[in-house]
């Protein structure tokens, strides 16, 4: 029986082509899908990581996450432009843009949590969701006020890591660097949560804030830290993305929708879940673009729907005991 061969568009195969050519062409397409999928998954994971962390600790579905992603992109673009104007090396601009975006998001995040969100703790989750939506809208207008509506191109760091070839395909090194960056970010968060004292305290707050508080944990500090750290990750992801896109208004809304899809698939609050969700979506989307482009958007929400049918709490959401 003839094996099913998926050819990349443009690749042809005569009826008498040997099976080795068939295998090679299939492998070529498979490899392309895997690389594209992993690059996309890495980006999605870095974006979704902060969102799932904030939900895990504060039980807030933070719509403002997309706004901080855009803020990070704008700060990065500004820093890169400034460094380029002063003739400083792109590597320095790259490091500075990541640090600046992370620092601003961390500072604003703490102020936002202490100045606004804490007033709504204990209220219905929908109220908190609406508060973060309001922050999202405010951030959209604030970025317009500061940076205007014109797009900013800050591409210098995009050329920093050269190009890498896989067969007849070239990949930009910067895109490939996203993969180790995502792995490092995920491991750092996982290690921080599971292997450090602070992480254990955060885990205790996640499981039961009342008992944690009664044992002397300053849960307000944990909340502020977790919220700001989540937003810092969003801004970090925005900063990483800035050199490869045209930074302009409207960045935030698409990102927030995709991030929600990832964390819903993986399970709200689960770092491992976000990783698996991002890989599933990244690979499925890449496969769809290469094999069935019409289904590119549909496939993401198909995965989400299937997961929700089988495991409504998401793939990695732990069962929680009912409190009496």
């Amino acid at each position: 029986m003839e094996p099913v061969i998926w050819l990349a568009k443009g690749e042809t195969m005569a009826p008498n082509d040997g099976s080795w050519k068939r295998v090679f062409l299939s492998m070529n397409l498979f490899l392309t899908i895997v690389i594209d999928g992993l690059i996309e998954a890495s980006w999605l994971f870095v974006v979704a990581l902060g969102l799932t962390l904030v939900f895990g600790v504060l039980k807030i579905l933070n719509i403002a996450h997309g706004g901080f992603y855009a803020l990070g992109a704008y700060i990065a673009a500004t820093v890169v432009t400034l460094f380029a104007a002063k003739g400083l090396p792109p590597a320095l601009g790259f490091a500075a843009m990541l640090l600046a975006a992370a620092f601003v998001a961390l500072a604003v995040g703490v102020m936002l949590e202490r100045g606004l969100l804490k007033m709504f703790y204990g209220r219905d989750e929908v109220v908190l969701l609406l508060v973060t939506y309001a922050v999202f809208l405010l951030l959209e207008d604030i970025t317009k006020l500061i940076w205007g509506v014109n797009p900013i191109l800050a591409t210098q760091p995009y050329e920093l890591f050269g190009n890498v070839s896989f067969g007849k395909l070239f990949y930009v090194g910067y895109d490939l660097v996203l993969i180790p960056v995502a792995i490092a970010s995920g491991l750092a968060v996982w290690f921080g949560l599971n292997r450090t004292v602070t992480g254990k305290i955060v885990s205790a707050v996640i499981h039961n804030p009342e008992i944690s508080a009664s044992m002397g944990v300053k849960i307000n500090r944990i909340y502020a830290f977790a919220f700001a750290f989540g937003l810092m990750l969003a801004a970090f992801a925005g900063a990483l993305t800035a050199p490869k896109i045209s930074v302009q208004p409207g960045l935030s809304s698409d990102v927030i929708i995709l991030s929600f899809a990832i964390v819903v698939i993986g399970g709200l609050g689960s770092v491992e879940g976000a990783a698996v969700g991002a890989i599933l979506v990244g690979l499925a989307r890449a496969a769809s673009v290469h094999i069935f482009p019409q289904g590119e958007l549909f496939v993401i929400y198909l995965i989400m729907a299937v997961v929700l049918m089988i495991r409504p709490e998401g793939l990695f959401q732990r069962e929680t005991a009912r409190r009496i």
Binding site: A8, K9, G10, E11, L29, T32, I35, D36, G37, I39, E40, W43, K144, V149, N150, P151, L153, T155, Y158, E159, N163, K168, L169, F170, Y171, V172, D175, T241, K244, I245, S246, Q248, P249, G250, L251, D254, R285, A286, V289, H290, P293, Q294, E296, L297
Partner: protein, 435 residues
Amino acid sequence: MHTLSAHKGRIALAAAAAALTISTVPVSAQETFKLGIVTFLSGPAAESFGVPARNGATFTIDELNKGSVPAPHNKVGFGGMKIEPIIIDENGGATKQVQELRNLYQRDNVDAVLGYISSGDCLAVSPIAEELKKLLVLMDCGTPRIFEEAKYNYVFRTASHATMDNVALIRYMKAKNIKMETFSAINQDYAWGQDSRADFVAAAGQIFPNAKLGTDLLPKFGAGQYGTEISALVGAGSDVVYSSLWGGDLQAFVLQSAPRGLPKRSQLVFSAADHVLPALGDKMPDGTIIGARGAYGLMSRKSVLNDWFFPGFEKAIGAYPVQAAYRINQSILGLKNAIEKAMEKNGGKKPTTDEIVAAMTGSQWESPGGLIKMTLGDGHQATQPIGISRTKYNPEKKRVDLVDIQYFNAECVNPPPGIKSLDWIKGGMQGAKCE
């Protein structure tokens, strides 16, 4: 009572005489024409189209109000009436625009509304203007559907629709012997992207009958990241990659595809790319074939009107005019032409909406982008000439120049009256008159 009646009669007589006098007297210098202008001031289309259009409108109106525009548009304002613009933001979606249009007519009492860039907005607001019997001049929107699927009396579009862009691209590629045995496409998944793709594929089928469509991608509008799409396009290795992407999406696509070797492997062909050239600079690959939706900007031809518009705009705004600035300029000049024609007929008084509509139907006028003729849609849809060219970065001027320009007259790249664009293309573009 009698005295009172006689007095009333005299007053009535005097009032009637005054009314008669007013109705035949030409407009006074104090009379104004209130013009609602709708363009994107925020959102993804603002930088590429909306703000250049706003700048084009303010520059043109300032110049008209000063009477500084060359003949035949040298009368002050519209027939001596100063133009009073009210500019509003097109961002926010079609439902919002419908309400904003009603506000302009009914609350702000504008004499006409001119503008709109989004095809969706144009399709949504046109029936409202028709219902209110108010003048609406659409200055952009790519979709051919406005007058091909409906009939309007009070609505006009003063620029060609997207069919022209794609037919001209294909004719250019044939004239320049571009090899196109295979081609791939990447277009946004909404009206503009899908209509453009359909026109290009159909026109390719006529002029390059053996060309095969390979990878055919329709990413969502505003996707911004095209890594996987670029892999698919590079993998396809087609002779030509066609796209109607615009604005930030096009900039991102070019930025991401150039380092991955796509421009070296395939001839890039972009239907509406002039507006991204200033921002992209040397990132735009040399030799890319681009259209500008007209003979606009760096592809504009020398004429008295263009010698006024291009340098004047550049001096006033600090950047050279791209397609949206030209389109709104030709729209304002078209309205001016119709108003002044109507005033010639009615003895020089401010014309009514119906008088302007009658004058604008089937009219033609000179613009910096060439002669505009309202030949389609029963005289409500314009056709115009177009230029297509290749990019070449100029390191001395630090800008992208356009070289190897070829112009196509309106009758060569637009369908004749009475036939839908796609049917015309698929039928072999019968009746096209190419110079």
